[in-house]
Amino acid sequence: MGLLDRLSGLLGLKKKEVHVLCLGLDNSGKTTIINKLKPSNAQSQDIVPTIGFNIEKFKSSSLSFTVFDMSGQGRYRNLWEHYYKEGQAIIFVIDSSDRLRMVVAKEELHTLLNHPDIKHRRIPILFFANKMDLRDAVTSVKVSQLLCLENIKDKPWHICASDAIKGEGLQEGVDWLQEKTVQSDPVCEDMKR
């Protein structure tokens, strides 16, 4: 196996590994999004609330993502910061139909961005305005307004409207993430040293 790995690496068949943190409040659809990004034969049928966190893997055209699918429940949110160091990209999922907790998402995003492990790194952040299929969902433009995303100046970010059950909008987001990760990757490597 090791030999095979090395061989495929030399041949350039082995894709580059990227660590991604998937964050967001509970019930926003993080696990569903990650599940939908996996190949269809590896997808699980029922999604239950995550306890602690799960490690999932999926591949895009040129990268292999390792996702830390964190639990968004209030009591587990203090676990997030332990994984900030490993993260090379962040997926932040928002429930667009939950107007009331938009302030909580904003607050969590604010603490995330001001964390010493994140603050000075130029890591890409992908936002999913999820649950677009629901009747009382707000648009992605409105979500970015409510979360004050325009205030993020020092990091590349992108917001996609998505429907994680049907899988709409996910590919667009992953494509953007891949492009940005490839761009910022050497920077990331430099900072690690």
Binding site: L25, D26, G74, N78, R99, L100, R101, M102, E108
Partner: protein
Amino acid sequence: MAAASSSDSDSGLTESNEANSKWLDAHYDPMANIHTFSACLALADLHGDGEYKLVVGDLGPGGKQPRLKVLKGPTVLTENPLPALPAAAAAFLMEQHETRTPALALASGPCVYIYKNLRPYFKFSLPLLPLNPLEQDLWNQVKEDRIDPLTLKEMLEGIREKAEVPLSVQSLRFLQLELSEMEAFVNQHKSKTIRRQTVITSMITLKKNLADEDAVSCLVLGTENKEILVLDPEAFTILAKMSLPSVPVFLEVSGQFDVEFRLAAACRNGNIYILRRDSKRPKYCIELSSQPVGLVRVHKVLVVGSTQDSLHGFTHKGKKLWTVQMPATILTMNLLEQRSRGLQAVMAGLANGEVRIYRDKALLNIIRTPDAVTSLCFGRYGREDNTLVMTTRGGGLIIKILKRTAVFVESTGEVGPPPAQATKLSVPRKTRLYVDQTLREREAGTAMHRSFQTDLYLLRLRAARAYVQALESSLSPMSATAREPLKLHAVVQGLGPTFKLTLHLQNTSTVRPVLGLLICFLYNEALYTLPRAFFKVPLLVPGLNYPLETFVECLSNKGISDIIKVLVLREGHSAPLLSAYVNMPVSEGLEAA
């Protein structure tokens, strides 16, 4: 100095600064049109999907259209009209098996309406109260047309005064009617059976035999009939009945029904009664100095808000622990329970638009709201554990979410001297003039003393002379003999030649009325004319003020003072009361006339 003191008062934890606040502003809708009290608010997972809804027993604007509203997030999910004004709302689990959706209980009038899954499920009515047999007998006779309405009225009135069992609503309404309406009322109501029913004033839930979050709970009802009923959660039979000396308005309970419980009831007579399991009568009584406006139990302390703007803490045996003074009237109170940190605190909505949070005596936090808050509820709402729902006096809805990182710490602000100590006393400065004067006093003190004493003797002499002169001519408005002062004002009504002159006479003795006095005006006839310069004064009752008025007409426009005398009847012309006053000079009115 001022800046420093203001920043001092802002420091600590009581500031409502946006950045440092412990609360996230989730929602504010001033037009939500929700008019309710804390007792009519409940948070419950009505559909069992983990999304908690807010149940509001809404009184409607002006208390006209009672409605049951259920809110999901910031919007109203359903709205049902209610038959009567709601008294309290509560969510509770009825049975252990089955899906764990709680039932919703809404107390209104003599009934408790139970909703399951937001559909009407059961209506519990309070049992009828015993009737007065005499009254029942009377109405039976009416039914057989044996007595007429007038005799019925007389006999009912007799019962009302004597009997210890009060009359039914029907009889009381009959007694209110006019003679003409009685006949029709009797004809309309004689076939109905009379009944006496009471009304629910308050309702809470009590765990039956487990202290768990999802245990079955009993409803505890307080009624206008000074009773407390405990209902079975499934069958809605009465498990226990306790009586109180007054009408309960706020209830608070701890423990479990089957094991041991302590029930505190704040009543309209300003007392709090504490009952225990198996006690039909209150075991302890706490007497407050004023009416209670809210009752909250925090761990083992009963916190009572009183109409004298203060919070009192009592033990479960009725011993007073502490008192905290509020800056404004308390409108509502509720419990704040943050389970993740094991915090229990009392929230008090004040009339000045503040919501204060206290743990025992310590102020933890102040929330400032745009309008005075009339109802408060803290708990899990939607999917957020620590949510505070408030409704304002104007019908607005405010939802705040406690930050995950927020920790309530007692403010250590009030250390050091009070701010009043820092203000400077305004002691006047002394100039050179003062120093020179003291020097002079030190040198010529003896001469100053002597000359001053001489002047004082002279002053006393002149004052005594003037006083005797005034007594002789009776110029003073107070008289010692007849004991009646005379107060005179010129009510200068009218600038023209005619004035209205009012004399105010008062008898200052305690019990002795003064018999017929006479009033005589002496004046310069060349200048004024009075229609009645001499008249009788009515009998002066002690204590009353008699305004006596005359019209004075001025004949010239020169200002000349006039003297008016009051003479005592049959006492000659010694004029015991007398006042002098000055008339106003008359303007051009005379020339024109």
